[in-house]
């Protein structure tokens, strides 16, 4: 079983070339998907009988929350690969994922609060999903704080990789304990921001938006990956024509 694709995956010049070639395509596809999904969600989809037009905020809140979690798990997988097979490319990919994940956690929180205001009358309610999202933001801040605190890039890569793995193991446990905590204090009948029941016309724009956000995530990761690869490459010859 030849591992050529795996070796090629591990060689910075090859990955740099791949990222440079494919980022625009991913970007174009993402933009198209998002625009069509926006049109579908804002105009074509019928209003929800209960939340009326407010439900349309799901088209930006749900994909942001999805991306914030996907970015963290991608980061943890890249970190694990980097630690186990000592691959600089994997560490670079992990470093590339963090800022995007953090920003979309902020977006998920912001859109969640804007959705909460009409539903509950206040911007912030200790709803289990919003609380878990907030804790995920602290995990991102911890990750980036640790990376910033260590000067040597190789050491920072490895230390933050350990934290990313420890973090991803804890995300489901934190989610479980927050739900447990929420079920304890359920006396106040808070109208949970229930998932609006979605029929066909409402659903396909959401699925398309998920796809668009995923493609967008790939685009930005590929751009940042090129930057991280250049930062880690010492004196390799390929850098010369990459930056020529």
């Amino acid at each position: 079983m030849n591992w050529t694709w795996f070796h090629r995956l591990g060689s910075p010049p090859h990955v740099y070339g791949f990222a440079e070639r494919w980022a625009p395509w991913f970007g174009g596809a993402a933009a198209l998907a998002i625009v069509v999904a926006l049109y579908g969600g804002l105009i074509l989809a019928p209003a929800d009988y209960q939340q009326k037009d407010a439900f349309r905020m799901v088209y930006v809140h749900a994909p942001s929350a999805w991306l914030s979690l996907m970015a963290y798990s991608t980061m943890a997988v890249a970190a694990a690969v980097g630690l186990i097979w000592r691959m600089k490319v994997a560490h670079s990919a992990a470093a590339a994922c963090a800022p995007i994940g953090a920003w979309f956690t902020v977006a998920a929180l912001g859109t969640g609060m804007l959705w909460g205001k009409p539903m509950w009358g206040t911007y912030w309610v200790w709803d289990p999903r919003l609380t878990s999202e907030l804790l995920l933001l602290f995990l991102y801040i911890g990750y980036m704080g640790l990376r910033a605190a260590i000067e040597d890039p190789q050491k920072a890569d490895k230390a933050s990789a350990v934290f990313a793995i420890v973090g991803v193991v804890n995300v489901p446990i934190i989610k479980f304990s927050v739900n447990w905590w929420n079920s304890l204090h359920q006396e106040a009948t808070v109208m949970r921001m229930g998932k609006p029941t979605m029929n066909g016309d409402m659903l396909w724009p959401l699925m398309l938006m998920f796809l668009g956000f995923t493609l967008y995530f790939a685009t930005v990761v590929l751009i940042r990956l090129r930057a991280e690869l250049l930062r880690r490459e010492r004196s390799a010859s390929w850098v010369r024509e990459a930056v020529a």
Binding site: G27, I34, L38, L42, I43, A47, K52, D53, A54, R56, M57, V60, H61, P63, S64, P99, I100, W103, F104, V106, A107, G110, T111, L114, W115, K117, P118, Y216, T219, V220, I223, R224, R226, A227, E228, L230, R231, E233, S235, V239, R240, A242, V243
Partner: protein
Amino acid sequence: MSEFFAMDGYGVYLWPSFALGIGVIVLNVILALRSLAAAKLEARRRLQVQS
């Protein structure tokens, strides 16, 4: 057209929510491109130092 923007009263929350979403999307592309440009500059500087 105007009732489209009104979003039967929820527009005041819906449009900022989408603005935030789109804003973060655009912002991250800009940040990524700037990070790439900075890395290229630094790599060029390092190459000059080495040669």
